[in-house]
């Protein structure tokens, strides 16, 4: 009798990912989907697709989905959760979406401690529109709109969303993770699980920030991109938990 | 068909809006058509405030009153602004405690009532507007005092029920002032 070594999660559809080779969207999609399945909440989950490279992720997540305007996913999530508090609601957003155009929406969703879960992908660049500078682009990093490297005197230092949101009283669970190696992938999945458990328990706003890569727009091979993320991104964006529900913090 | 168009004008805080609303509520209780319309926004906070009320047996159309049957003037600037809005033969009720001037027109009926002084004597300066209402219902016989009090009781509720007697006194004082000074 053959043993099943790898079974595709029910949280994903059969559609093949459209992402570039080496893009971490695929693995993060899979982790989220596995958690939804393992927590047995998939059939009551409503997800929100952003504007960005993952704009069509409603094709991949095997649950009800709504596609939102650029940056507005937390507001859309709020609308859904307020009228359907028994459903599980998550938004999936990139750094242009969440950390730039949608800063008001994410800050206020955290501020109200909206009982939703946010999956935040930070790869320091705008992928969809072709490699422009994001608010999270590192100082010195070259993009199409910072062709000489990001100059902090010109456009500031990269924004640290997890730190920023953990200063908002309403934020219940905030953790920054990475998926650059298998050990961190396992850790990342735990964080996602915790975030959804916080929501299931009705404890309020949860967000997991992923240090992610964009090999194509960074001009690197996938493995080099992972190494670069580990050496440069994580140095600036430290991994770890920033907020956890008080009663669990022992 | 009866139609009565009223403009109330004064400072914000003098209860000008409430005067108009009371008359509109009373009209509705009497199954008359009515429309109350305020000047709104920053004007209502400390600046000049005014509202207009139309009461009619017919459907009320234009909310804008160009020629008023009755105008309440609670302060001096309002007299300058609204004297021209009184229709010929109409009436103007002036708070002579604050508006010292007399009207310039001779085709309207002016009533000078020192409502602030009377209110002060009654022991509550805030009921000046109710003295004006008393004067108005005495002049027009449009509503009974009891109808006005009924609306006040409802809007004050239990919490402010103790304010009913002073308002009753104020309306009565207004009525009396007209009876005694404009026979």
């Amino acid at each position: 009798m053959s043993k099943v070594v790898f079974e595709k999660t029910k949280g994903l559809t059969n559609k093949e990912f459209s992402y570039c080779p080496g893009c971490t969207h695929g693995i993060i999609h899979r982790l989220v989907a596995e958690v939804l399945e393992e927590l047995d909440i998939l059939d009551r989950t409503i997800g929100i697709s952003p504007v960005g490279c993952s704009v069509t992720n409603y094709e991949f997540f095997n649950c009800d989905m709504q596609q939102a305007a650029h940056g507005r996913a937390p507001a859309v999530a709020t609308g859904i959760k307020r009228v359907r508090p028994d459903n599980i609601v998550f938004s999936y957003q990139g750094d242009g979406d969440l950390a730039s155009i949608g800063t008001a929406e994410i800050v206020h969703a955290a501020h109200r401690s909206e009982n939703i879960t946010v999956i935040f992908i930070n790869n320091g660049i705008y992928g969809m529109t072709g490699g422009q500078m994001a608010p999270t682009t590192l100082v010195g990093q070259k993009t199409t709109t910072s062709p000489y490297g990001r100059d902090e005197k010109h456009c500031g230092k990269p924004i640290k969303i997890s730190e920023l949101l953990s200063a908002v009283p309403g934020a219940t669970f905030i953790e920054r993770v990475s998926v650059h190696n298998p050990a961190h992938v396992r850790k990342a999945k735990k964080a996602i699980k915790k975030a959804f458990e916080v929501q299931i328990a009705g404890k309020g706003f949860s967000l997991v920030e992923f240090i992610s890569t964009c090999p194509v727009n960074w001009g690197m091979k996938p493995q080099d991109a992972l190494n670069w993320a580990e050496e440069n991104m994580i140095a600036y964006y430290p991994l770890g938990n920033f907020r956890t529900p008080e009663e669990d913090d022992k | 068909m009866m139609t009565e168009k009223i403009i109330c004008a004064g400072f914000g805080g003098q209860g000008v809006m409430l005067m108009g609303q009371l008359l509109a509520y009373a009209a509705n209780d009497n199954n008359l058509n009515t429309l109350w319309y305020p000047s709104y926004g920053p004007e209502t906070r400390g600046g000049t405030a005014n509202c207009s009320v139309t009461i009619s047996e017919a459907k009320v159309n234009s909310p804008v009153i160009s020629q008023a049957d009755s105008v309440f003037i609670m302060n001096s600037p309002s007299l300058d602004k609204f004297e021209s809005k009184v229709k010929p033969g109409g009436r103007i009720l002036i708070n002579s405690s604050l508006a010292e001037k007399k009207v310039e027109r001779d085709d309207i009926n002016a009533y000078y009532i020192p409502v602030n002084d009377i209110a002060y004597k009654l022991g509550n300066p805030r009921v000046a507007n109710m003295i004006m209402i008393g004067a108005y219902i005495q002049l027009t016989q449009l509503f009974e005092k009891e109808e006005i009090l009924k609306i006040l009781r409802k809007s004050f509720g239990e919490e402010k029920a103790h304010l009913i007697p002073i308002n009753d006194e104020a309306i009565e004082a207004g009525k009396k002032y007209i009876q005694e000074n404009y026979k």
Partner: protein, 354 residues
């Protein structure tokens, strides 16, 4: 229930509750703030949700989410706030989501002023955001009509899966009139919201609320399907009132507060023996073009009266199609004319026609 005296903004809020509204998301702006204030006080008593959003943009996107999740939902604002909401409104039109949006119009452009205005006519009737779409727009003239229309509007929005806007000027929001909130309004036959994202619960495949089309052909097909829907709405939902048309020499086209002022003017003109009719659009989109076919032969000209420098006049000209001379009278910036000004405009126009 007997008639009650209510302020326009409060009456609109209560009408929404009576119309089955289960969620409200908004942001304060004069002259409509009493509306969210009223709902903040009362919505929960009716099992509904009230939430003050961080901005108009967030509010309309909350409406998008709640509507997508199958709820009867409303937002309200005033002109500059509606401009901010246009992003969400076009997404809703694209994703075919119903909602009721109240616009208590004030003067513009820019921050403008807080006094009554109808200068949003084009913002309201031309879709307002990007893309080929329209919102169904009602422009009632008094509180009773406003209340009845709001109660009906939720059904209209659900029937066509499209946002419905109630465009009233600041005066209607701020005034008090007796109003009966329990008058029965026509009910529509509504299909179950099988498209709503409420969780699959293992009973059906996942659904998706979306306005993105990767394939231009797909987007073209979608746009033509929407156009077909809008044509049905044009055919079935034009609403208007014709007043004093018999033997009229002139017809005034006016809506909202302006039509009330015109009514007062018509009474005076009638006393003078001058016969003028009123064509009052109740829907401004679809514009009541059908009404223009009912204008009698006796009419020699059309006078458009608006609280703007002239926006609806374009639609009047299209509907008139060159048949009769079209004149204009307008006040704007929050200035509201007295009936005498309309009377003068009528006499001027009639004088020019003779």
């Amino acid at each position: 229930m007997a008639k009650v005296m209510m302020k326009g903004n409060e009456a609109m809020a209560l009408a929404a509750i009576k119309g089955g509204c289960k969620a409200f998301f908004g942001y304060p702006i004069t002259p409509q703030s009493e509306l969210p204030e009223y709902l903040a006080k009362h919505m929960h008593k009716h099992g509904g949700v009230f939430l003050q959003a961080e901005s108009e943009i967030a509010a309309i996107n909350m409406v998008y989410g709640a509507s997508g999740a199958g709820a009867r939902v409303m937002t309200s604002s005033s002109s500059p706030g509606i401009a901010l909401k246009q992003e969400g409104i076009t997404y809703m039109a694209g994703a075919q989501l119903p909602a009721v949006i109240i616009n208590v119009m004030r003067g513009g452009p820019g921050l403008g002023g807080i006094q009554p205005s109808q200068a949003d006519y084009k913002q309201v009737t031309r879709g307002g955001g990007n893309g080929d779409y329209y919102v169904i727009a009602f422009a009632p003239e008094d509180l009773q009509e406003t209340v009845n229309i709001i109660k009906e509007a939720f059904d209209v929005a659900d029937q066509y899966r499209n946002p419905v806007m109630i465009a009233v000027d600041g005066l209607i929001g701020q005034m008090m009139e007796p109003v009966d909130l329990d008058i029965e309004v026509p009910k529509r036959e509504l299909a179950e919201k099988t498209w709503a994202t409420i969780g699959t619960y293992g009973k059906r495949p996942p659904v998706n609320i979306n306005s993105l089309f990767l394939d231009p052909q797909g987007l073209e097909n979608h746009s033509w399907n929407l156009a077909k829907k809008y044509n049905t709405i044009k055919e079935k939902e034009q609403r208007y009132e014709m007043v004093n048309m018999k033997d009229a020499e002139l017809v005034i086209v006016a809506y909202g507060t302006m039509s009330r002022i015109v009514r007062s003017a018509l009474e005076e003109l009638n006393k003078e023996g001058i016969k003028v009719g009123l064509l009052r659009p109740i829907t401004i989109w679809p514009f009541p073009e059908k009404a223009f076919k009912e204008i009698p032969e006796s009419v020699k000209g059309i006078l458009t009266c608006e609280l703007s420098t002239g926006q609806m006049i374009d639609d009047v000209k299209i509907a008139n199609n060159g048949k009769l001379p079209v004149g204009f009278f307008g006040r704007t910036g929050g200035m509201v004319p007295e009936p005498e000004e309309i009377i003068k405009a009528v006499k001027d126009m009639l004088g020019g026609l003779k």
